[in-house]
């Protein structure tokens, strides 16, 4: 029904910390336990890259080039069947907000052994699931501000099409039980289409406002 994210094996960077002795046990532990765990976690989280530090060692697991790093929607997402979402599921904020003040690392809830502490260090990729054509997936020249919460969409004055904004600028709020949650621009650019009506109910991660990139980079990702 679904395929695991990333058919190609993740690339692994192992680097010794400054001046650390090469310790066979540490390496064995890293390669036998930490790396497979990281790879599994990477596949499950949709993040582009994960890094774990243990003592003076650090391991970073990254998806193969070309799979990550670009602000995209998740291809293959069904349109939301929730009443609030008529614009389809948004991508995880990870896609465009990986750099926004540090998303908390995935937390274990429930049983047993604690995993190593994970630090997401990069934006997540789209997955390589069977794609429904979607202009947002193929256009690297725009970002999409997504909903930070489940609630009611209230665009701000900066959300008017044509407004020049910087990454991190506030574009409006999602009202969650009376508590406003800020919608921020993921990129420097010019505000484009708003995908949801003011006053609509929106879900977490739903795409709300398109921002066309101010500078067109030759290469993104």
């Amino acid at each position: 029904m679904t395929k695991p994210a990333g058919d190609r094996p993740p690339k692994i960077d192992g680097e010794a910390g400054a001046g650390s002795p090469t310790d066979v046990d540490v390496i064995a532990h890293l390669t036998d336990e930490i790396v497979p765990a990281l790879a599994a976690k990477l596949a499950a989280t949709g993040l582009g890259e994960l890094e774990v530090r243990q003592g003076t060692w650090k391991v970073r697991v990254r998806r193969p080039d070309g799979e990550g790093g670009r602000p995209t929607r998740r291809a293959g997402d069904r349109p939301s069947r929730a009443q609030p979402g008529h614009a389809g599921h948004g991508h995880a904020p990870a896609a465009v907000e990986g750099h926004r003040g540090g998303r908390p690392a995935p937390a274990y809830s429930g049983n047993g052994s604690q995993p190593p502490e994970l630090t997401p260090v990069g934006p997540g990729p789209g997955t390589d699931r069977a794609a429904r054509p979607d202009p947002l997936d193929v256009d690297p020249h725009r970002g999409v501000a997504t909903s930070p919460a489940v609630g009611v969409f209230q665009p701000g004055t900066t959300a008017r099409a044509g407004t020049r904004v910087r990454a991190g600028d506030r574009l409006g709020v999602v009202d969650m039980l009376g508590v406003p949650q800020e919608i921020v621009s993921p990129v420097d650019g010019i505000v484009g289409a708003t995908l949801v009506e003011a006053g609509d109910a929106v879900e977490y991660g739903q795409e709300l406002i398109v921002v066309e990139l101010a500078q067109r980079p030759d290469h993104v990702g």
């Binding site: 029904m1 976690k41 499950a44 069947r81 429930g110 049983n111 489940v150 039980l177 109910a201 991660g205």
Partner: protein, 456 residues
Amino acid sequence: MIRKVLIANRGEIALRVLRACRTLGLEAVVAYSEADRESLPVQLADEAICIGPADAKRSYLSASAVISAAVVTGCDAIHPGYGFLSEDEGFADVVRAHDLTFVGPPPEVLDRFASKEATRRLLATHGLATIPGSAGLLEDDGHALAEAERIGYPVLIKPSAGGGGKGMRMVRSPRELESAIRICRSEAKAAFGDDSLYLERWLEDNRHIEVQVAVDRYGNGVHLGERDCSIQRRHQKILEEAPSPALSDDARLELCERAIRAVVAAGYENVGTLEFLVDRDGNPYFIEINCRIQVEHPVTEMLTGVDLVATQLRIAGGEPLGFSQSDVVLRGHAIELRINAEDAEHEFRPASGVVERYLAPGGPGVRMDSHLYPGYEVPPFYDSLLGKLIVWGRDRDAAVARARAALDELLVEGIVTNVPIHRALLSSEPFLEGRMTTNLLDRMGSAAFLAAAGRT
């Protein structure tokens, strides 16, 4: 009356609640985290809404995200399932403040039963024996040492809030006690946000037996028999069955009748479970009440034919129970095997990954409650329960035979499961003779247990 329910949980229990809603003709919305976007309850739901990221603190444990989701989708009730927000009286309060119905006991009832220590005292006044324990919560080390001395070692340190074995330690000496208390306090603080502890006498070789009750808001209450949950690993239940092989019919009836009388008198409402430890001499001691649906509820459903989740919804909606004690007939024997994504060969390390192939067993008296499907990716963020295999038979032997056949039929590939421990259990002498106690697996060590069962 409830019309539309937000299901604020995941996995097999979200699916179970969805099915109950459909049976009752209620609309249902499945609330999910980003990690559960592809999950079966989300796919089967008529309506689903993403409430937050994978981190449960910002999704399934976020009261505001859950309630906001209920409000914007036009729900009038929230079913919390088990775990997460299910026993949070503060959450139930806020749910009510938004004119929504919490599917469970009303907030003031949850409040009354929130502290285990206070609940023991309350139900003791209504005729339930409790394990000798500390008078009140532990103040400091000096107080703890004095209380432990009075109760007699070994003692069990327990957190006043929460359950599931977190913040719990058995100690055999004053020297162990001091360091164990520090560990328990920090575990309890981390797990439940409350580090109050109390002590109980440790009962060697005890059995864990619990009584299922249902009470409507008009004070009509019934018990639905007991379940024996003695097969545990580190305080986590693995296999549950009913009736308990350790109780005679007379002892069962007396325990269940005492339990329902006590909770009705104490003003309990909705579906709930009273947990007892039963010592070697067959004396039951009340330990705690669970004010929610439990993982092992299907055991009782198989025995009684009562849909417990539908009963929760009906009672929360203000309906009378609709049946009396004489309508509750306990028929045959039922066994539930918890299928977990755990490596039994390696200290039950939790696993995640893609389920490549999945086939649920079937046939008469076989029920599989699971959210698995081929291609499903088990996320690493939540607990390791993949599903529950429940079997029913005319008697215990027939149920065991069905459990073995069903387990052979169950196919889960791509992810490691604890099926080997179930195979071992179903052919082990202590289980077949009904002699399992809560500490047996831990005392033998699961590796030794697997090896011993492999030889027979």
